[in-house]
């Protein structure tokens, strides 16, 4: 790895570890101090490595510097003497002896505790994702703003509010008690699922960033699987779903960042290793008696790893969507079920049901109707696609819709 790539790379992997360990030591109310120490460590690295060249073991160097900076902070900051050191029950005079444990075990434990704190139900979903990206994944403010298609100020305010809320609610950085683990884990999975989808379906054109978002969501989910108390079926199901979706990363984006639809993708670009991992996690997920929405979504995604159409495949997908809707209704699932219905029972039956959904505010509703009307009533198809074009925010969707409308209007469209 080139020297100029090393610091960004290490920042991505090590910043969040250092922050997690320090934060779980200091408490969430002092998260800014933990972040400052971590940032300061990287600032030192960039200055000193630039002058003296790379140390032999850059990670160990970062940990040593971070520990020293933390100890100095503990020694010199009056706030710390009064607030934290007292709480921690350390003798301020002997701050040198404070153990700042950056062992792999403690890094993992701290990160796990941080996941639970960040995904606390007291914080709004959007803020959770932002906070997760910042403190768990080490993303910069401008990257987070880019992922959300919004400005840095908005993100800064959102993060500030989330941190204030964490303080106000006095949320502890610890594993939730046994009795709460189930419901808290559910909240964590929901956030990780959103984080993954934010990357996978983001309207942002920055494909590298979108991939990073997805891989970070997968890394955090894997962290839960590697811990015995959180290695539960629903977690495995979620990671399985993520693996199946991520397997199509290379195939779903063209050279210029344009979206390539599922049916037009080059199958040889599908990552078979990830598909295999997905199947593995799905089989782990089937131990036990709980059936989460992630199980069903993973099962649907598993069906899609084979592109050949068959009656059996679409019957399966149709019933899985029906099941999903019974577990938790969502407009997206209702629209997807209508598409599966078209594949399994024909467009006419699907059209009759799709029209009843009346999800007229959703671009996807009009995209679906456009698709179903194609070949039956092309004028109506065009009209729905134009409505969708006006509703969608995604530039990738816009490009695909414009292309399809042009073909339909010229009479050259083949579905």
């Amino acid at each position: 790895m080139q020297e100029n790539e090393l610091i960004p790379h290490l920042f991505r992997t090590e910043y969040s570890k250092i922050t997690a360990v320090l934060c779980s030591l200091f408490g969430f109310e002092h998260i800014e101090i933990a972040e400052d120490i971590a940032s300061d460590t990287f600032l030192s690295a960039s200055e000193i490595w630039g002058l003296k060249g790379l140390p032999e073991n850059p990670v160990a160097w970062l940990y040593t510097v971070a520990k020293n900076k933390a100890k100095n902070t503990l020694k010199h900051q009056a706030v710390f003497h009064n607030k934290i050191v007292k709480q921690l029950n350390y003798d301020a005079q002997r701050a040198d002896n404070i153990e700042i444990d950056l062992s792999p075990r403690n890094i993992q434990d701290s990160q796990l505790q941080m996941i639970f704190a960040v995904c606390h139900p007291a914080i709004q979903a959007e803020a959770q994702i932002g906070l997760a990206l910042r403190v768990l994944c080490g993303f910069g403010i401008s990257e987070i703003a880019d992922a959300f298609l919004t400005g840095k100020d908005t993100i800064n305010k959102r993060l500030l509010r989330a941190k204030e809320r964490l303080r106000a609610e006095q949320i502890k950085i610890e594993m939730p008690p046994e009795a709460e683990l189930g419901s808290r884990l559910e909240a964590v999975l929901r956030t990780l699922y959103l984080l993954f989808n934010e990357g996978y379906y983001s309207a942002s054109y920055n494909t590298t960033l979108r991939k990073d978002l997805c891989f970070e969501a997968m890394r955090l989910t894997l962290l839960l699987i590697e811990n015995d108390s959180t290695n539960q079926p629903a977690v495995n199901a979620l990671l399985s779903l993520m693996c199946f979706q991520a397997s199509r990363f290379e195939a779903r984006t063209g050279e210029n960042g344009e979206t390539i639809l599922y049916n037009d993708q080059d199958i040889s670009l599908w990552d078979q290793e990830l598909i295999g991992r997905g199947k593995q996690f799905l089989s782990h997920a089937s131990k036990g008696t709980t059936l989460s929405k992630y199980h069903i979504e993973a099962a649907i995604a598993c069906c899609h790893t084979n592109r050949e159409d068959s009656q059996e495949k679409w019957d399966n997908i149709l019933q899985l969507y029906t099941h999903l809707l019974q577990l938790e209704y969502s407009p997206v699932a209702a629209l997807n079920r209508a598409y599966a219905l078209a594949k399994a029972r024909g467009k006419t039956q699907a059209l009759a049901e799709a029209r009843q959904l009346q999800l007229t505010d959703h671009p996807q509703y009009h995209i679906l109707l456009g698709e179903l009307y194609t070949g039956i009533d092309n004028q109506k198809a065009i009209s729905h696609l134009k409505t969708a074009l006006g509703l969608t925010r995604s530039s990738a969707d816009k490009a695909i819709l414009s292309g399809k409308i042009a073909h339909l209007e010229a009479g050259t469209y083949r579905s």
């Binding site: 209702a334 049901e353 009843q356």
Partner: protein
């Protein structure tokens, strides 16, 4: 939104007479119907199918097999849905596959009081 109970009644012997293929088709049409209710966010509980065998307990400890008083209208199952009005509930009930075998759906609003 109010909740409504669908009670499915049919002649159980007609229902049982189909070939395996016909039974498969029946199962599928029921699943599709329940699915379309769920897709419109009108499903509360898919409910259960009831076994044909049963007993009726009457006053004075009288227990009889049954209820076979009206064999054409055996209660075969129930589903709980939600709808804005009785009219909407009835519209949903019209999609039920039970009419193909001469059965019927009784639609009853659940009294929440």
């Amino acid at each position: 939104m109010k909740n409504f109970l669908f009670l499915f009644r049919a002649d159980q012997f007609v229902a049982a007479k189909g070939s395996p293929e016909e039974m498969q088709a029946t199962t599928q049409s029921w699943m599709d119907w329940i699915g379309s209710i769920a897709a419109q966010n009108n499903l509360v509980d898919r409910g259960n199918r009831l076994n044909a065998a049963g007993k009726v307990v009457r006053p004075n400890n009288v227990v009889t097999d049954g209820p076979y008083t009206e064999i054409k209208e055996t209660l075969g199952g129930y589903t709980l849905i939600k709808a804005a009005s009785m009219e909407e509930a009835v519209e949903i009930a019209k999609g039920c596959p039970i009419y193909k075998i001469g059965g019927n759906v009784e639609v009853r609003e659940i009294d929440e009081m």
